[in-house]
Symmetry: C2
Subunit: 675 residues, 2 copies
Amino acid sequence: MGNNDCEYPSANVGSSAATAKHHRVAIPPPQPFVKTFQYSLKETFFPDDPFRQFKNQSPWRRLVLGLQYLLPILEWAPRYTLDFFKSDLVSGITIASLAIPQGISYAKLANLPPILGLCECSDNNESHIAHSSFIPPLVYAMMGSSRDLAVGTVAVGSLLTASMLGQEVNFNENPSLYLHLAFTATFFAGVFQASLGFLRLGFIVDFLSHATIVGFMAGAATVVCLQQLKGILGLDHFTHSTDVVSVMRSVFTQTHEWKWESGVLGCCFLFFLLITRYFSKRRPKFFWTSAMAPLTSVILGSLLVYLTHAEKHGVQVIGTLKKGLNPLSITDLVFVPPHVTIAIKTGIVTGIIALAEGIAVGRSFSMFKNYHIDGNKEMIAIGMMNVVGSCTSCYLTTGPFSRSAVNYNAGCKTAVSNVVMAIAVMLTLLFLTPLFHYTPLVVLSAIIISAMLGLIDYEAAIHLWKVDKFDFIICMSAYFGVVFSSVEVGLVIAVAISVLRVLLFVARPRTFVLGNLPDSMIYRNVEQYTNTNNVPGLLLLEIDAPIYFANSNYLRERISRWIDEEEDRIKSTVETSLQYVILNMSAVGNIDTSGISMLDEVKKTIERRGLKLVLANPGSEVMKKLNKSDFINKIGQEWIYLTVAEAVGACNFMLHTCKSNSNAKDESTDSTWNV
Amino acid sequence: MGNNDCEYPSANVGSSAATAKHHRVAIPPPQPFVKTFQYSLKETFFPDDPFRQFKNQSPWRRLVLGLQYLLPILEWAPRYTLDFFKSDLVSGITIASLAIPQGISYAKLANLPPILGLCECSDNNESHIAHSSFIPPLVYAMMGSSRDLAVGTVAVGSLLTASMLGQEVNFNENPSLYLHLAFTATFFAGVFQASLGFLRLGFIVDFLSHATIVGFMAGAATVVCLQQLKGILGLDHFTHSTDVVSVMRSVFTQTHEWKWESGVLGCCFLFFLLITRYFSKRRPKFFWTSAMAPLTSVILGSLLVYLTHAEKHGVQVIGTLKKGLNPLSITDLVFVPPHVTIAIKTGIVTGIIALAEGIAVGRSFSMFKNYHIDGNKEMIAIGMMNVVGSCTSCYLTTGPFSRSAVNYNAGCKTAVSNVVMAIAVMLTLLFLTPLFHYTPLVVLSAIIISAMLGLIDYEAAIHLWKVDKFDFIICMSAYFGVVFSSVEVGLVIAVAISVLRVLLFVARPRTFVLGNLPDSMIYRNVEQYTNTNNVPGLLLLEIDAPIYFANSNYLRERISRWIDEEEDRIKSTVETSLQYVILNMSAVGNIDTSGISMLDEVKKTIERRGLKLVLANPGSEVMKKLNKSDFINKIGQEWIYLTVAEAVGACNFMLHTCKSNSNAKDESTDSTWNV
């Protein structure tokens, strides 16, 4: 059946394949299994190659480098200048002014002291509010690799702590146990965060995609705003659920409890805060108006209450706060059942959420200033600051977005701004706490609402819709999941859809027909390049994903559908009948055994239809496996070409010189091409 | 800073880019959202395009085609010939001889009648054993699209039914309820299977990869073999757990209960069965010895017991079976709590496992004979046969591998062999049941063991190890999961690892450096093609996966590491310093918004190092999104090339004509390249 030229075209056949006369698709040189395994492990867990700098160094230098790796402060402290300190001082004081009222508000969200102070418990009524702005920033300043992250408590973390601990321990019945559990949860959150860093599992955080974070933050902000209706309306009883339905029911079933004095005061302060924010955004020079506004509001509100005795007319106030430095709380940690379970659970959930926020915030600002953030190092720093914090009466801290943004705007240079903030907060706590007695809760609610409104980034959502519909769906499901159910549900749904997207990419890979760009040897997707010409007698297909178990059935179906469609199309024209199917494997990153069986089936099916399967440019992983599974010999190495152009050249050569043979195909369908 | 030629090289610059003078990377023509959405839905749920044949047909023809789609028998029955029937008759009788003892053995596994018959319950002691070989094959013959699948009960399905129902209902205490629940579970399994087909969710089955099936089948076979120790050793009490530890403990704690007569008989028959199998494999002519051996064993065993009264010496027998046709069991189905929950759960689990086996078996043989199997159609057929079966006293059926293999070997042509089998079984049941009274249980155990040993495909496992280590891990985890824990655990672990592999492919994509193949314009992976030359001043990188949230952080790190390594390498040589980083995007199938931000960051980082980012050959999806997100304008459309060769040509042109400008880079790092 034909001469040898027809059945075994070699790569140097055909004039259009002339550019690469003597190149064949190479089977990559065999690697010992241990080596490839080590390489995979390294790429999976050490993509940043942390040991690289230790190479070829003296032992002493290695020790220094190791310490610098663990404590980045050793790296930058020697280069610290007075100019840096000036910038850090300004930004540190600015964020301290934000930290005190924010600390009070968030502690309130977590049901932690201020309120403990309010209900006059005898033990532990220290002002934990701002402790979390003291010890953890010092730890972070030593270990963190971000220069802009301002350490503090966050609304979502506080809210989650309250809602999860609240399921097991009623705060009003046992405030002391509740407080100890909050410390314990913080401890476990820290341990969990640091272990993720030590285990090099930083990449888990990557699964919270940009779209998820946008939706999640907007949803959390909405939920937190709705929660503040309690403070704004001066309600005594309120639902513990966070979903919008429960909150609305709770608000509108007790309209008779609404206190108009509280509402009016709240709206005034909210208006004031939003106005200052508006100005600071319009004129970057006035950035400090927005930064100072919360503290100003607290002072104004407290003065107002003190002068008008509004606390007797429906405006709730914080009450007594005790001065003092952080007491040790290491003995308060609860490590025995039954309560340790809920503490571990709360710790892990809040830990991962706080971590996601802290790292995302750190990364955003490092991007602006173009320096490097190490996810695993950040995890260890944030984890250690929570572990140390939990032993010194602090609850969960991370890098809140709003505070870090102010820090960045105020021109901070290093983590020293965190140290300045810590000292400023401590001085305030030692000498100024009595002033907070008259601070109205409604002002704190207004501060929270105004901070939250900035987190609802509807422009980002519109951008997502414009650029990527699937990301928009992920964003919206995170938002609605958080708003209508709970923070955890929203996150899980969004991550599940994100993962589904990845699976769908592999399960339903795009396949497309290639055409020839006029006057060139380039073959491209006919849908993208509308000016391409198809090559008579050949069907050029490209697969855009690895060939795995999840798509091997689909690809088999799809390839035969492409052939059906092509043959239908040719029937209605006078073109040469289909003879060759060229699969461009350039974009096939990997293949598994199911995929190899699929290729085998496709080859058999195609040959039974009297056609010939030709492969173009399989990559190293694919070549390695095709070789090991003996598929290369089944298809014949001479049917695997380095480029699509060469494959087309060889097939065209065959088509034209062997026309008489290929006409014989109709009589003996099966025997022509079985090499 | 240089003339225009240097900062805006156009595609027709550089002699080596001459082949494609006037082609640019095209932004695919915009498509209305509804259209792309419809396309995605179609590719996801209708990859086989079932409506294609209905196009341009008369209404009558459409009705016929629709009926043929639902009942494939209408398609092939008109073409059925006497020759076909002869083949189908032979194969039908052959599988019937296998079906009767297999049916008895598997029913025993499921704790269903034979044993019900043994314990002399007054109601429902019909011989459900072989009913499952009567009605369901008839249904499948009409609706199924496989020509080789032989319908029957399967060991794993039977075992699962017993273990799951056994958790809730003790068979010995309430056999009637147990039986009704088995029917109900079968009903729900059928409904579930058919719904998957109607909802076009056939692709779920694809997630049971080849490797998973190999490990799972071997594991299930091991477990089933171990369970048979009860029958072989003639034990009365036995664990209900299936894991190897429990079974071994159960066997070796009651060594005093072992009955040597039973053991000897069992070993003899097992030896006989294995010998016949060996011969039928060595000589294809004797395939029937293996097919007839089970029935022969049953007859021989029964005769032996009848003649020697071995039932009084430790050899357990089946006992009385009642003759008769399938009674209707539709009124027995249990649709009320509390038991309906376990029935639904059992139905779904056994349904999906039976489906996986049925479709895998159907596909394997359709591959041999090269015809088309429609997954969704098969799901509906298998589902309907279980729904109808559950109403006529049958329990879970699918296409067992062993029986289908015998059917195929015996030369069946169509599903008529199933009809023949059904009739042959029914005749046996009507006239020959009393003969089964003396059938020793130990023979049934021997039959099961011999069938199971064939399913442990260690050669496939070795092949997996050779070709794909990850597939081997999946296979082994399925095996050990099934053996050491349970069938469900094994399956879940294997599927989870399979999915993890897909996620890992995307989360840790391979990036590699490209080099120039000598005397060509082709650029390929330097690890695969060891004879490539690197291009001075340029770093050519290729990414082998979509750029998604899961890998955007990794890719950012990895790209800067590649640049670091390249610059380190150059430092030690006298080569031109690095000027351009060319990213080959050919294999990047898609990008999301996180990926676009990453590219943006990479561009900024690269430019801050005084280098320039160049893209080569982004695909249609990527181009569309880069365009919508305005990244194309940020990077400059003139820095996106159609091929790597063109990009290299343009960069080389820039390097050589603008050398003086690029030397200025060292003084003003930032301003040279900000286009």
